[in-house]
């Protein structure tokens, strides 16, 4: 995916995952430096609502509004951020 396009699309993610991709809420995952293909797989699993459990339902709504292109770009963006946010 295109990390720059992902950054442009990331406003909807920042509230929980923050600018650095390190979330401030213990139950929300850090995304920075995560595997790009895993991020794509996760977002698609939320979009299809196959992924349930925990706070999955929050992500159903958010991922539901993302196109596959958005998903690929957001995955590239978060994978490109330094793991641990430093």
């Amino acid at each position: 995916g295109d990390a720059a396009a992902g950054k442009a699309r990331s406003a909807v993610c920042v509230a929980c995952h923050t600018e650095s991709g390190i979330s401030v809420v213990p139950i929300y995952p850090n995304l920075a430096g995560q595997k790009e293909a895993y991020l794509v797989s996760s977002m698609k699993a939320y979009k299809s609502q196959e992924r349930k459990g925990g706070n999955a339902a929050i992500m159903w709504a958010i991922a539901g509004a993302l196109s596959d292109e958005d998903i690929n770009n957001l995955a590239a963006y978060y994978a490109s951020l330094p793991a641990g946010g430093n």
Copy 2:
């Protein structure tokens, strides 16, 4: 959880998530430095098989064999590893 006990229990995880908690397979997530509470939530969602999609089925079997105490300890262990594996 108890990170040391988690490390002792992590043999079953290393094959995919490696010693550093940074996976070598693009579709398997990095776990190092992830949020402890998120790791607990994820493992429980795999254990209950609520989490489907992607390679979830692999984790059903693995998480299915973990006690809640194992889950808490493994979460503490991987959360304690340096994000990005450095």
